[in-house]
Amino acid sequence: MSKPFLEVDNLAKVFADGQGGELTVFDEVSFALNKGEFVCIIGHSGCGKSTILNVLAGLDEASKGNVIMNGKEVSGPSLERGVVFQNYSLLPWMTALKNIMFGVRARWPGWSREQVRTHSERYLTMVGLDKAMHRKPSQLSGGMRQRVSIARAFATQPELLLLDEPFGALDALTRGVIQDELVKIWSETQQTVFMITHDVDEAILLSDRIFLMSNGPHARIAESVKVNINRPRSRATIFQDPAYHRVRDYLVDFLVNRSGTATPDTQGKPRVVDPTLLPPVSPQRPAEASACEESNTESAARAVNA
């Protein structure tokens, strides 16, 4: 097996708790990402998801452990790791286009102005904002701002994209539309994406794998859940797939019942789980269980390979 694209080893973060003691938010967090994978991470508030993401971005430092991307240790921020922040973090004195050009120019300092502009416009068009490119962030809705932010991150073509709850502040309808756009751009660019979310449905729609975190303090990434649903997936039809309900039930069961006690395997790696191979969690759906028997054999083979 070749080395994974990104390896996180034994990461921990300790804060002073303000009373002279220490607070270990997360501990012994280890996982790996493969190139081109879309991975979501779900966990209750306070388990340190954002800190993990900031460490991956190089914006924060872990108290222990290390992160290796492409065989090189991550220390400090880099253009190879693009970040989309929850609060968009657009520069408010620039228009949408200028915000993207800001990123593109930083990425390719040698490019001509024309080149930078054409490239930036292409990505703005991808997120459907070609008509609003000369507006400033204050003149855009929350959804539009987040689209600009996503376009900026994708336009710099980083090897790893880190999304910190990008849709957390958006209403459900807008969120759905941008999720579709995100899937579209991602399938065109095949970038590796690591995303924090609180939304189980969003995670299933987007991810190849979903990391489940146990509760902090001393939070761990306890499980890595495979989402065995064929792509392209669509918001409108995904819930008709029986596997969708298997995964969803599994995730909800973890978050509601098991997130306080779950632990990784003995080597500290997340337990690999494929809910479609497990006996159904909720007995009220026997019909679906048999319906996905066929795909089960296939995914069982895949599970063995992994």
């Binding site: 971005a57 914006l59 970040v83 004195w93 400033k136």
Partner: protein, 279 residues
């Protein structure tokens, strides 16, 4: 007619007319008893009878004087008699020179203080001690060291306008949202490019506020400074006309000081609007 702006200007006009009317009336009655004995002061002034009694001129006299002065603002009949335009130009030149020098120092220094908590801690005591010093208190030292009254006046402007710009720059720079700094960091911008492309525009509204406060202070101080150093400038002009007991000129120049101060403030107000942004 019923818009707020219209009603506001109308009321302003009413106030003006009422004020000028009262003023005119007050000065007219006080001149009534001209037959009284001349005071020693009036005798000294060479006044005999009504003509020479020094009193605050009525607005009509000030206005007609203003029209005459403004008709030919740049005449120059020697050191004691220059047009108001020339005097104002001297003052504005000194303010702009001292102010620009202050800006050239305050901006980079403010960045250093704002970006480095260590420098803030190291320099803050000096700033706190130097800031409350009346700029005119520097004048004797400046005159001794610089040995030139013109440059000393410029130095006084420099020293009085530096503090608001320095403190506002430092404050603006220190309080740039961490999110925007993170954007610069994730895009691998170096410290200089971060300062120019992210921190400067983000702090610009705060910096401009400091610049606006500074220009106001500089304009206040130049009048006093020129009264001290003499020679040219609007401050000297006011004092000189007082010595001439030409009160119409004094009142006229006071008004001109106000108008120029307002124009300077408006210019920076414009600049401030240019760099402002909505989040």
């Amino acid at each position: 007619m019923n818009s707020l702006a219209m009603r506001g200007s109308l009321l302003s006009l009413v106030f003006l007319v009422v004020m000028l009317g009262l003023w005119e009336l007050a000065t007219a009655t006080s001149g009534g008893g001209g037959t009284a004995e001349l005071s020693e002061y009036e005798l000294l002034m060479g006044g005999a009878g009504d003509e020479g009694v020094a009193r605050v001129p009525p607005p009509s006299a000030v206005i007609s004087h203003a029209i005459a002065e403004l008709a030919n603002p740049f005449y120059d009949n020697g050191p004691n008699d220059k047009g108001i335009g020339i005097q104002l130009a001297y003052s504005i030149y000194r303010v702009i020179t001292g102010y620009s020098m202050a800006l050239a120092v305050a901006l980079p220094l403010g960045f250093v203080i704002g970006m480095s908590p260590l420098m803030y801690k190291a320099l803050n005591p000096y700033i706190q001690v130097l800031r409350p010093i009346s700029p005119l208190a520097w004048m004797p030292l400046a005159l001794f060291i610089i040995q030139d009254s013109e440059r000393s006046a410029i130095f006084v402007i420099f020293i009085c306008s530096i503090w608001p710009m320095l403190l506002n720059t430092a404050f603006g720079v220190a309080n740039v949202r961490q999110d925007w700094i993170n954007v610069a960091r994730t895009h691998e911008l170096g410290p200089l490019r971060t300062a120019v492309t992210v921190i400067l525009p983000a702090a610009a509204p705060t910096i401009l506020t400091g610049m606006r406060i500074s220009i106001g202070i500089a304009w206040l101080v130049i009048v006093a400074a020129e009264m001290l150093v003499g020679g040219t400038g609007i401050g000297y002009y006011v004092w000189n006309e007082w010595n001439n007991l030409d009160l119409a000129s004094v009142i006229f120049s006071i008004l001109m000081i106000g108008v120029v101060g307002m124009l300077l403030d408006m210019a920076l107000g414009r600049a401030q609007r240019l760099v402002e942004f909505k989040e």
